[in-house]
């Protein structure tokens, strides 16, 4: 979107520079009556990242987000959003943050456009005269321009979700927080949300997405934080997390048997795969494996680092046995 990219230079960038994270929590804890919803959460959302917050239902994703946005006061711990202590600094931090939390909330008897007008009325970054333009742009961006005049009551689940997204994108933001944005969306809608997240990322906006859909996170995020039972069990860059568990190299080649034989000769453990071989990298490096194969005259079509799917990683982290020994960065013990 050309509109969005031209808007970026106008937005004042954090004077503190890129070193400060867009959002950070330390020792965050929230207790509702006797249930501990969130415990000892140290979350870091780097500036400019797309962080996927992953966890099963009831793992404390929404509670953490609500505390991050100052909607809920933590029982213990600190929250910093765009460099401001929350919830005290809400007046300064929140104008630059767009959020869709706990599903879209709108009035059923008003049209989509009227609902956005109402939301826009409270936006400090939007002068009164600019409201109609900003609302029209936001509706266009989420693909609701055609249904803007219809009452919210008659919207489908996906349209409601998009309207919520439009409200979060009324003004150019430094950070956008989306809590389960693809809930109720069909595959096409999910793709559009992904596209919007990618656009935001390209503009330099920090995005925090929570989801229990692994594929969605894997497709859109640069960083991941995995929550389980109210604690962060892993966080870091998506690529690092995915690679850390599996030191393997996938080689696709037509003559797998010869490849395997040459690997064995050089004491590199490996096994046959449908389209070639998988070399174990625990004791060696990728260049070494390729060198070995090429010397042996094996036709190498493609070499790639084996990635465990996020699904494997997630299953490993959220099952109750201790996380794998593969040296995951910042793996905390799952404490009850």
């Amino acid at each position: 979107m050309s509109e969005a990219t031209t808007a970026v230079p106008g937005v004042p960038v954090a004077p503190t520079g890129t070193t400060a994270p867009a959002a950070r929590t330390r020792g965050l804890r929230k207790v509702y009556r006797s249930t501990v919803a969130v415990d000892q959460v140290d979350l870091d959302v780097p500036e400019g990242a797309v962080l996927g917050m992953l966890g099963p239902n009831g793992s404390g994703k929404t509670t953490t987000i609500r505390m991050l946005l100052g909607l809920v006061r933590p029982t213990e711990g600190e929250v910093e959003l765009l460099g401001r202590r929350m919830p005290e600094g809400a007046g300064r931090a929140l104008p630059d943050v767009g959020a869709l939390v706990e599903g879209p909330g709108f009035h059923p008897f008003l049209s989509g456009r009227e609902n956005l007008y109402r939301a826009a009325a409270a936006e400090p970054r939007l002068a009164g005269a600019d409201v109609p333009g900003a609302v029209a742009t936001a509706l266009e961006r989420v693909g609701l321009a055609g249904a803007a005049h219809r009452r919210y009551r008659g919207y489908s689940l996906g349209m409601k979700q998009r309207l919520g997204l439009a409200a979060a994108l009324l003004v150019p933001r430094r950070m956008v927080v989306l809590d389960e944005p693809t809930n109720g969306l069909d595959p096409a809608g999910t793709r559009e949300i992904r596209k919007i997240i990618a656009e935001l990322h390209a503009e330099g906006t920090t995005v925090l997405v929570s989801s229990h859909l692994l594929a969605e996170v894997e497709a859109t995020c640069t960083h991941v934080a995995v929550l389980h039972d109210g604690t962060v069990v892993a966080q870091g860059e998506l690529d690092e997390l995915l690679e850390s568990g599996s030191p393997g190299l996938l080689v696709s080649t037509p003559d797998g048997d010869r490849a395997l034989a040459s690997l064995r000769e050089n004491r590199i453990p490996g096994k046959l795969t449908p389209d070639g071989v998988r070399a174990d990298l625990t004791a060696t490096t990728a260049p070494k494996v390729v060198e070995t194969l090429v010397r042996a005259g094996v036709a190498v079509h493609e070499v790639r680092r084996e990635r465990t799917g996020l699904e494997d990683l997630f299953a490993r982290l959220t099952q109750h046995e201790t996380p794998g020994p593969a040296g995951l960065p910042e793996v905390d013990e799952v404490t009850k």
């Binding site: 509109e3 006061r73 706990e102 409270a122």
Partner: protein, 293 residues
């Protein structure tokens, strides 16, 4: 395209300000737009407008009602039969007993509990609108709606009274006859006083509304409260309690129709209402600021 260009300069001044806030008036206007676009609001206002008209017609048809059942507002109703001045005030007195408090309660229930139930309060909290400003806007919105319903009833009452009796029958309960202008002033005083009483109800309703996310609970509480207070006022055993009950002075509205106006009951009622408003809004503020959004 143009959106981005025009938005750019506005980012600078607000961005450099310490904490960015939207003006209270802008929020208030958005709130009014929301209140008066709601179909329910319009239906309630329409029903309230019918009351004085129905009362006027009913009193005109059954002018031989004599001194039927011994109800409280009886003298007022009898006076309203042939009196253009008394009709709007009688309508307000009837409404004040139950219908108008319920209307205020409904508005206050929608303002916080209803918005919370819809998840719409969050979008303003995240904008952000501070909790204090939020309460201010909500209180102003409810007050405006209450005032609108009272003014509407008064206007319809005056028009109905004039249509039935002309400007001839503008006499007070003291027997004097008033000019049209003086009569309007009396109606305005009554409307203002009734609004004040309703604001007191609404302030308490807002406090309840800040504690729950079930709008119905707010309306039921006000309904129950009004009925319980009315019953308590009938029991002389608890007369020490009576000065603390808001409806204690609601019958004083008749005093507006005297010439000159008998102020004691009205002033006492006004003071009581102000106390209720202060207490109600304080409780609402205390609850709203500590509550998880």
């Amino acid at each position: 395209m143009t959106g981005a260009v025009t938005r750019e300069p506005t980012t600078e001044p607000t961005g450099s300000a310490a904490a960015a806030h939207v003006g209270l008036f802008r929020l208030y206007r958005a709130e009014l737009r929301w209140i008066f676009r709601r179909p329910r609001t319009l239906v309630v206002l329409g029903l309230l407008a019918i009351i004085p008209a129905v009362m006027g017609i009913g009193l005109a048809i059954g002018s031989s009602t004599d001194n039927g059942p011994g109800n409280g507002g009886d003298a007022l109703l009898t006076a309203a039969a042939g009196n253009a001045l008394a009709l709007p005030i009688a309508a307000l007195a009837v409404g004040l007993n139950l219908l108008l408090p319920l209307t205020s309660a409904m508005s206050a229930a929608d303002a916080l509990a209803g918005e919370l139930a819809h998840g719409t309060l969050r979008s303003w909290l995240l904008a952000p609108v501070s909790r204090g400003r939020l309460l201010a806007v909500k209180a102003l919105g409810v007050a405006t709606f209450t005032l609108a319903s009272v003014v509407l009833m008064s206007v319809v009452g005056v028009v109905t009274g004039l249509a039935m009796n002309g400007t001839g029958g503008l006499f007070t309960l003291s027997g004097t006859t008033l000019s049209f202008g003086a009569a309007l002033v009396k109606v305005a005083i009554a409307a203002g006083w009734v609004s004040l009483q309703l604001w007191a109800v609404a302030a308490v309703a807002l406090a309840i509304s800040a504690c729950t996310e079930h709008p119905m609970l707010v309306v039921v509480s006000v309904l129950a409260g009004t009925i319980v207070f009315t019953v308590l006022l009938m029991l002389s055993a608890v007369d020490w309690l009576h000065p603390f009950l808001l409806p204690q002075s609601w019958t004083s509205i008749v005093d507006v129709l005297r010439d000159p106006i008998a102020p004691t009951g009205l002033v006492e009622g006004a003071v009581r209402a102000v106390c209720y408003i202060v207490i109600g809004l304080s409780l609402a503020y205390a609850r709203l600021t500590t509550r998880d959004g």
